[in-house]
């Protein structure tokens, strides 16, 4: 634990809190500028007081993958929007809502869609499906005359998308935990999917029951739907999108998902005869630039030993306070929420060795051999989901931008939702075991039961009867798909 590391960590935390609390107003310095300046200050300290700066090490904290995924997602969203794909999707949803399944079915399916078709970065689905979430959110809000319901759908969907990189077997954050912890690939996937269902419903419940009251949303209701007939190319584009997603999740081709999205964008451009401008209309720079700024500051902290200090402090607390290793382990699991980075990979790579060490100690103290697996899977889920509430360009920012909400309002309900949902994943890890994934009928039934429960809760939250067939059928479908895929 070095003085330089401690000062760097304090500097970063002070800058972050000052920006988030509005002590440094956004009209003076944007969050991105604050972060870059903090990174420069940390590096300057290292130049002045530490050994020579390993400049290249600053780059190693950066993951290009979430950045390129976001860009590819935005481009595809732009193409799909211009091609009328969302109108087509909206019309399909309208057809579903006119059946006895109703809106609850559509909501359960949409908000949990990213977890069912888990992509290596939540932004891949968050960007292109955002217009659909908005459409559904405004529709349900209009029906119930409650604007908070828009936020419930949008942030339920976004927290689900943010966390969905945890269970992804195509290169998600879960693989990072399994890889570093040397657990069989896919060990944490199903428990984490169930945890995400709980996180999603908890976030929506928190907005409905408490945070909705303080919602200040400046986005206008969307104009009435265009009465012109939807072209066939619009349906084709949307169906192509869904079909490719199913194929990608089912067969996991060794092709970067960004490449697939860009190729799909080109196909949609051909089919719907789109222009460049149509593509660019979907791009939002703020989450992208904040993400890069987050990586820069993380790289600077890495070189200054900030994360080592954090780990040393945790060990010290474990050894010298009543919390002990078990208490601090809980703290470690939720640490990504307190230090919510724009991408969970930043903090995961730095802290997983510590998590494994804590897991080992807890196993020794408690005699519970699966403690490292439980702790690691919970940490991974918490890290992955933390990009939802992260004000540093997290996936939640996309929703705040679209709904024109200021002051990072969505961070708290999302963070609390994660806090409530992660324990479910932790409970399911011992049930699932740490053997290579195989079909387990008991676990499959548990997943279906959790799906149905989520459906019932969604029914209640959106003002339907608890036993409304739509929510329950949607929940069962989500549970079933997570079992199958």
């Amino acid at each position: 634990m070095t003085v330089l590391g401690s000062i760097s960590l304090l500097l970063f935390l002070s800058a972050l809190i000052a920006a988030l609390r509005g002590w440094i107003p956004q009209r003076v310095l944007t969050l991105q500028s604050v972060l870059v300046l903090a990174a420069l200050a940390v590096l300057m300290l290292r130049v002045l007081f530490g050994p020579p700066v390993p400049w290249a090490q600053v780059f190693t904290a950066t993951s290009l993958h979430p950045i390129t995924s976001t860009i590819a997602g935005f481009l595809f969203a732009g193409a799909l929007q211009a091609a009328g794909g969302f109108q087509a999707a909206g019309s399909l949803v309208a057809r579903v809502t006119n059946t006895p399944l109703g809106l609850p079915f559509a909501i359960v399916l949409l908000v949990n869609f990213p977890t069912v078709f888990a992509m290596p970065c939540g932004r891949i689905l968050a960007a292109p499906l955002m217009p659909l979430a908005l459409m559904l959110g405004f529709e349900v809000a209009r029906l119930h005359r409650d604007k908070a319901m828009t936020a419930m759908v949008v942030f339920g969907f976004l927290v689900n998308a943010g966390a969905s990189c945890a269970p992804s077997l195509i290169g998600g954050l879960g693989l990072l935990g399994e890889g570093m912890g040397r657990f069989p690939m896919g060990t944490f996937s199903k428990p984490n999917q169930m945890g995400i269902l709980a996180i999603t419903v908890a976030t929506m419940a928190l907005i409905r029951l408490h945070y909705g009251r303080s919602l200040n949303m400046r986005a206008e209701d969307p104009p009435a739907a265009d009465s012109r007939p939807i072209p066939e190319s619009a349906y084709l584009s949307f169906i192509l999108f869904i079909a490719v997603l199913i194929v990608v999740v089912a067969i996991r081709p060794p092709i970067p998902i960004q490449t697939i999205l860009v190729l799909m964008t080109v196909v949609v451009m051909f089919v719907a005869r789109l222009s460049f401008r149509d593509l660019l209309s979907g791009i939002m720079l703020h989450p992208l630039s904040a993400l890069v700024a987050g990586y820069i500051v993380a790289g600077a902290l890495l070189t200054a030993g900030g994360f080592e200090v954090l780990q040393a402090v945790l060990v010290m607390i474990a050894e010298h306070t009543v919390l002990g290793y078990i208490g601090v382990s809980v703290l470690v699991v939720f640490l990504p929420l307190f230090l919510a980075m724009p991408c969970g990979r930043i903090i995961s790579v730095s802290l997983i060795p510590g998590v494994l060490m804590f897991g080992g100690r807890v196993a020794e103290v408690s005699g519970f051999a699966l403690a490292p697996a439980v702790l690691l899977s919970s940490f991974v889920l918490s890290s992955a989901a933390s990009c939802g509430p992260s004000p540093l360009g997290g996936v939640g920012n996309i929703g705040e931008g679209r709904l024109r909400i200021r002051g990072f309002w969505s961070s708290r309900p999302q963070a609390l939702g994660i806090f409530l949902g992660v324990p479910l994943a932790a409970l399911l890890v011992p049930l699932r075991g740490v053997e290579p994934p195989a079909f387990d009928p008991v676990f499959a039934l548990t997943m279906l039961a959790i799906g149905a429960t989520v459906g019932v809760l969604t029914n209640i939250l959106f003002g339907s009867r608890p036993w409304h067939v739509g929510g329950i059928a949607g929940g069962l479908l989500v549970g079933g798909l997570t079992v199958v895929l």
């Binding site: 570093m180 451009m269 719907a272 060795p353």
Partner: protein, 216 residues
Amino acid sequence: MQVCLMISKSALKVSLILLGLTVAAFIVQKSFREEFPGNYPKFARPVDANFEFFNRQVRIAVPDELNDFRVFVFAHDSRGHMQAIIKQVVDGTIEVREGDYADIDVRFDGSQVAGFEILKRMDNYTRETDMFNALKEARVNGRQAGIQRCLYPLCTRCIEGCRSVISGGDLPLEMHRGPDGAIQPVYSKGKCPRCGKCFVWCPVNVITNTKSLLGK
């Protein structure tokens, strides 16, 4: 002509840009060409090792030609599993001390490998199997223990080479547990297509080039 006009110009431009980027990436990429001489392979003999047991360590003498190599030191346990640790040969000697834990646990089905588990995760072990004790127990109970130079089942490059040129499962190269307990390649010269991949890809020189079309 009409079809061409119907296609979006922007889409065409984007396609061309993507094509250009792909070509540029291929040009930039460092060329990576491997040459495979069309000869038969030859195989290193099992390692002769001399075990000397002390109170808290085992000293294993191996031929000097293995100096600086990393090899498996293995011992079979009561379940028939092979416990192995990777050690470096220093001055013709390998030392396994008390507290040196096994790196890998290999399961067998007959003489063939049924699966394996790497036992170290980051800087912790999933299961701590003391190799010193494992070697001692193997000696006391008359179980196999020794040195394995081939990295199978971690490394399967020779088999992959075979599979890349031969369809079906009838490969000239198979891996079996030998009479000394070590896993070693079993070779059928008659089936060998002399593709040369096995010895080019073998990272530990267990398989080398005979430099002869006749394999002598």
